[in-house]
Symmetry: C2
Amino acid sequence: MSTAAHRRLTTDSWESLLRAQVTVMREFNKEPLLKELGSREYDVLFSLSRCSSGWLRLNELNDHVLLTQPSISRMVDRLESRGLVQRKTVEEDKRGVLIGLTEAGVAVQKKVGRAHVEHIQDIMETALSDEEMRTLLVLTEKLQRSVRGN
Amino acid sequence: MSTAAHRRLTTDSWESLLRAQVTVMREFNKEPLLKELGSREYDVLFSLSRCSSGWLRLNELNDHVLLTQPSISRMVDRLESRGLVQRKTVEEDKRGVLIGLTEAGVAVQKKVGRAHVEHIQDIMETALSDEEMRTLLVLTEKLQRSVRGN
DNA sequence: TAATAATAGATACAAACGCATATATCTCAC
DNA sequence: GTGAGATATATGCGTTTGTATCTATTATTA
């Protein structure tokens, strides 16, 4: 199928997803705690706090954050010099680097994370019912899987 | 309601929305035509092409793109010097500026836009059914309205 | 209406970004 | 094992970004 109405639906649904992300993100950026960290930097700390082993390769971090590899590399530099993350060479592949949170990094992530979660609750709960959030979760996960699978 | 499961659902649904946007956006950035324009610059041309009067105030542009006011101001500088947009002073408020596409800007937006739409079709159609896209559209619009309404 | 505050946009400057490329290590064919 | 290509990360450099601030114009209030 490829009618005008169908094309319209397809682009509109993507447009709306994008705008929703921009709108909510702009709201998050008002969070005062993010002033001392930046939302992308928080994203890195968050990713590290979530992974099972506690360590991620640089290129794995790259999958989560919308930045180029060199930018992430230098961002890790900065976070490292602030004592929030640490680098560790990988035994089985000496080209690679593992990134992990320091104790200070864990603390900062938790502090900012708590405020962030409250903010998310606030926004999402006001906007959507549980059932709607469940549906949104299913659809966006499906979208992700489909793109990654290409 | 504020159980652990509920908090989890709330943050997960936002996380997934964010990741889906990052994943799809990364895919879009592969589009060769965007090399000569940048996805945020395209976003500006697109916004101008969509508005009914053909002209937007700088601060209105700012609502659409995730950039600060000074960044947009300078981005318009660049697009202007490339002959893609034009500035016009507002009669009823001489502080303000109206931004509009030039003929060349319209042409470029259409050219890049066509490729972009095809790319969107490709990604969204593979991932979701029409019914699912409709649902996604409804939910993300609801989310936007709720946030803006604050 | 004069004085004060608020708003729209532009500019200076340091920090952060992307592109191209360098370096180091690994993989695989021969 | 040795050389060619692939992969992981780092670095040089010009461009773009955000924060703070400035100018110009409009709104407010006394």
